[in-house]
């Protein structure tokens, strides 16, 4: 078994003395100094001409960035297994991500990444770490490698809710260079200084999705319910119509994600930068060979799928329908989460995944993402803590994190046994 590669490039700069935090940046976040590869052979060693906004903000806040963290190719896989630099395994031989491994071994205090398809949410749930995907538009995506722009957000992983909040305080804010960035007044609602945030007093369990998870995961959710009830939180179930919409959210997300990905990675054709196939006789051959040789098979599957759903003959029944489902899911979840309510659901269907299992079903990421797609497709914030996921209304981050602190300290995994 080969060695885990956690950083694909490391910072040459010394951490400033008295640094606030030491961080890792995932491999979709561009930096001038360190190579950014998007986990792909296509971009291996690529150096950006500019820094991502989140890197600038962290730098200004006195954080030290230790290096670029290994991820799966363009961030769309299950747990980083498609990385050009190889998968990352725990001591027990289970799949995890480089970010979770770095947090677990204490190399970094937090990892800031770009969430595309839930890989880090799953990894954080498996490792019992804290993970936050903030409200869409509250953290600038300027300088992140575009994959599925309509749903991807900058995310934060750490070992405690306090550190996640501290990083979020630095990252949240308006940016003119990102046309989807929300006004400063709305971004500011994510910060710890926002004391007016209504606490979460009620939790609804997404029973439909929960039923598709394994026994251990269901028990974990039951343990979370018990802990929340003990805290005086009212627990009920989501409406059946909501369950129905949640059950198709990932089908719609797969369509949107693959379509946008297909379009966004078109620019990587082997000509201007990145991997360049040798001995080609024509430009068409260069494009084809470069992409054939540099892209992995899961990415190729996504590209073909995305290309198909955008074809003129399929647009209405695939892409356009997915946009309609997105709107319906958003409406349903906004209503469910009104008045200080959060949805409780797993982040993945099992408590561990082996490499062999993923190799046997390479498309697992497009099935397992049924638990993370609701947040991706709606842009609503999602928190993973204590191995379970809470999804809230826009700008409910501080309230989610307060509840997350309770779940984190409750040792749910211990209670479930």
């Amino acid at each position: 078994m080969s060695e885990n590669i956690l950083f694909i490039s490391e910072s040459s700069e010394e951490a400033a003395s008295g640094s606030q935090l030491t961080l890792g940046l995932d491999d979709l976040i561009l930096t001038k100094g360190m190579a950014t590869s998007a986990g792909s052979k296509m971009l291996a060693g690529f150096k950006s001409l500019f820094d991502a906004r989140v890197y600038e903000r962290l730098h200004e806040a006195g954080c030290a960035v230790a290096g670029k963290v290994n991820i799966g190719e363009f961030g769309i896989d299950l747990l980083g297994e498609t990385s050009h630099f190889g998968p990352v395994l725990t001591a027990e031989g289970q799949l995890t991500t480089a970010a979770s491994q770095l947090l677990a071994n204490g190399s970094v205090d937090a990892v800031v990444g770009l969430d595309v398809n839930g890989a880090q949410a799953r990894a954080a749930a498996l490792a019992g770490q804290v993970y936050l995907k903030p409200t869409y538009g509250c953290v600038s995506r300027f300088g992140t490698v575009a994959v599925a722009c309509s749903g991807e957000t900058v995310d934060v992983s750490a070992c405690s809710t306090e550190v996640v909040q501290q990083v979020l305080d630095t990252l949240a804010g308006h940016d003119d260079a990102d046309g989807t960035s929300l006004p400063e007044s709305e971004c500011a609602r994510l910060k710890s200084a926002n004391s007016e945030a209504a606490p979460i007093t009620q939790v609804k369990v997404a029973r439909g999705l929960l039923a598709t998870a394994d026994e251990a995961t269901q028990q974990l959710i039951e343990a979370a319910i018990a802990t929340l009830e003990a805290e005086g939180i009212a627990v009920s179930d989501t409406a059946p119509e909501t369950d129905k919409l949640l059950s198709v959210a990932n089908l719609a997300w797969n369509i949107l994600m693959c379509a946008e990905l297909c379009n966004n990675v078109n620019r990587f054709e082997g000509m201007k930068y990145g991997y360049h196939a040798e001995k080609c006789q024509s430009i068409d051959e260069l494009y084809t060979k470069s992409r054939t040789e540099a892209f992995g098979s899961l990415l190729k599957t996504a590209i073909l799928y995305g290309s198909e759903v955008l074809a003129t003959n399929n647009y209405d029944r695939c892409y356009d329908k997915a946009l309609r489902i997105r709107r319906l899911v958003l409406e349903a979840l906004t209503e469910e989460c009104a008045g200080g309510t959060a949805l409780l659901l797993p982040a993945c269907a099992k408590r561990a995944y082996s490499l062999a299992e993923v190799e046997a079903n390479p498309n697992l990421a497009f099935e397992e993402n049924r638990f993370t797609a609701p947040a991706a497709i709606t842009g609503l914030p999602a928190l993973v803590a204590g191995g379970v996921q809470l999804l809230g209304n826009a700008f409910s981050e501080t309230a989610l994190l307060r509840l997350g602190a309770v779940l984190s300290s409750a040792n749910l995994a211990g209670k479930e046994a």
Partner: protein, 486 residues
């Protein structure tokens, strides 16, 4: 023998006269040295996000209103995917689902009277880069200066029937868009290009024939030749079965005078349009709509009418001025600064136009604002500046603009520093007059003897010594008085 009718629709691409590109802050200037107006965004590097330039949307709305279109109050940008070396991101951002303007019309003059050509839509999009082929080394270089330069595409309905109508339509578009300062719309500069969609059918038939599209036509003369050739080719195919017509995109080789197949419908790519999630839908509220509406210029024919009926210009002067928005602006500005209409018109039509012509500039490039011309005319009328030096001053103002400097606000002060103002010192004039008479007593005597024409050489000699810097009226009076004394 069957009579045939040619059915033509045009897609006209027009480069917008904005300062910066459509989705990044690079300068909009494709004439510069290759790859000098580029950034990671317009070079298709990862990580950059598009930020829509508001000025582009203003100009798109302006064009829509000038062409009598409905403005979509929510307009969106969409992505169009295809691979080509001049398209760095491998997609073009354009408008597919909700273009800025729809359902308009343009009226042209035809021998049968005025005719409305319907406009299907106007959409905004980014231009691609430029490929430079070197046939000696078999290499191709790419210039990304033009990448992301804003364009509008004006799509007409198939309402045109012959080359004359096409020419009239293009001329009318050009005039309207230049008047509204949307674009210079110059085919010879590549800021206006047309795709010609053409089919042929028996006269009187309601069905359309097989349509071919000729891409990127860059001159009206070439369009005329291409329409003639394609029409003949279609009729020949229909009548004699020389070939089977297929719906296809064709190129036009103007040197050879023939069209050639580029791609047929079967081999045409699927562009996989979808809304760009990075550009939020643009909502045009009443305030914005009204502001653009209020900024629309008078149409050239309205100005012509106004200049003749209310200002009293001759038809010749009025129509010369209304060829150009810059001429009209300068004329109206000069009048606002106090110049008489006839004087202002003369200075523009004769002197300004002469300098523009000499420098190879178009009338739209007139760099002198009306306020400056008005002041200049006042100086000449007030005897402070000779007419010849007035022309010199005008040339100097062109030079100032050419150096990229601002035209001075105070023209009198500028003329003073340039040393062009008339000498206000009558002592100097008297001395010159005395010296000239003393140097040529014979001519002076001839004048005194009644030969009035003898005044001219003496006057010329004075002007030469004064380098033209004097009020000619005052000089003439002084000279006559001095001669009559002796």
């Amino acid at each position: 023998m069957t009579a045939y009718e040619t059915v033509i629709g045009l897609e006209v691409h027009i480069e917008l006269a904005t300062n910066s590109k459509i989705f990044c802050s690079c300068t909009n200037g494709s004439d510069a040295d290759p790859n000098t107006h580029v950034c990671p965004a317009c070079c298709g590097m990862p990580g950059m996000l598009p930020v829509a330039n508001r000025e582009v949307i203003n100009l798109g709305m302006t064009a829509g209103m000038m062409l009598n279109c409905d403005i979509n109050r929510t307009t969106t940008f969409d992505k169009k995917s295809y691979y080509y070396p001049d398209l760095p991101a491998s997609y073009q951002t354009t408008q597919w689902f909700a273009p800025v303007a729809v359902n308009g019309h343009v009226t042209i003059e035809t021998p049968e009277g005025p005719k409305d050509i319907r406009i299907k839509q106007i959409h905004m999009e980014e231009d691609a880069g430029k490929l430079v082929h070197d046939n000696l080394t078999f290499t191709t270089l790419v210039d990304f200066n033009r990448t992301s330069v804003p364009l509008i595409e004006i799509v007409s309905q198939p309402d045109l029937r012959n080359a004359d109508e096409v020419e009239a339509y293009l001329e009318r578009l050009r005039t309207l868009l230049r008047f509204a300062k949307v674009s210079g719309a110059r085919m010879e500069k590549g800021t206006m290009r047309a795709d010609v969609n053409l089919s042929v059918r028996p006269a009187g038939s309601q069905e359309l024939g097989v349509r071919t599209e000729m891409k990127n036509m860059a001159s009206i003369a070439a369009i005329r030749r291409a329409i003639e050739f394609e029409t003949a080719r279609h009729i020949d195919a229909i009548e004699n079965g020389t070939e089977e017509l297929v719906q296809e995109t064709r190129g036009w080789n103007d040197d050879a005078g023939t069209s050639f197949s580029m791609r047929t419908k079967e081999t045409a790519g699927d562009y996989r349009y979808f809304p760009d999630p990075n550009i939020m839908p643009i909502v045009i509220d009443d305030e914005w709509f009204d502001r653009i509406k209020a900024s629309l210029p008078q149409l050239p024919e309205e100005k012509l009418e106004h200049y003749m009926a209310e200002i009293g210009l001759s038809e010749y002067d009025a129509s010369a001025l209304t060829q150009s928005r810059a001429f009209c602006d300068c004329f109206e500005g000069a009048m606002a600064a106090g110049a008489a209409a006839k004087d202002a018109a003369n200075w523009i039509i004769t002197n300004c136009a002469g300098i523009l012509n000499k420098r190879g500039m178009t009338s739209d490039e007139l760099p002198v604002p009306g306020s400056a011309l008005g002041q200049l005319i006042a100086l000449v009328d007030g005897g402070k500046l000779s007419s010849a030096n007035g022309k010199r001053l005008l040339e100097t103002l062109f030079d100032v603009a050419e150096r990229g400097e601002a035209i001075p606000e105070d023209i009198a002060a500028f003329a003073e520093t340039e040393g062009l103002l008339n000498s206000s010192d009558t002592g100097e004039l008297e001395a010159v007059v005395a010296a000239v008479i003393a140097a040529d007593p014979e001519t002076a005597q001839a004048y005194r003897d009644g030969r009035e024409k003898a005044l001219n050489p003496l006057f010329g000699a004075c002007m030469q010594q004064l380098k033209g810097k004097c009020d000619t009226q005052v000089l003439r009076e002084l000279l006559i008085a001095e001669l009559n004394k002796g």
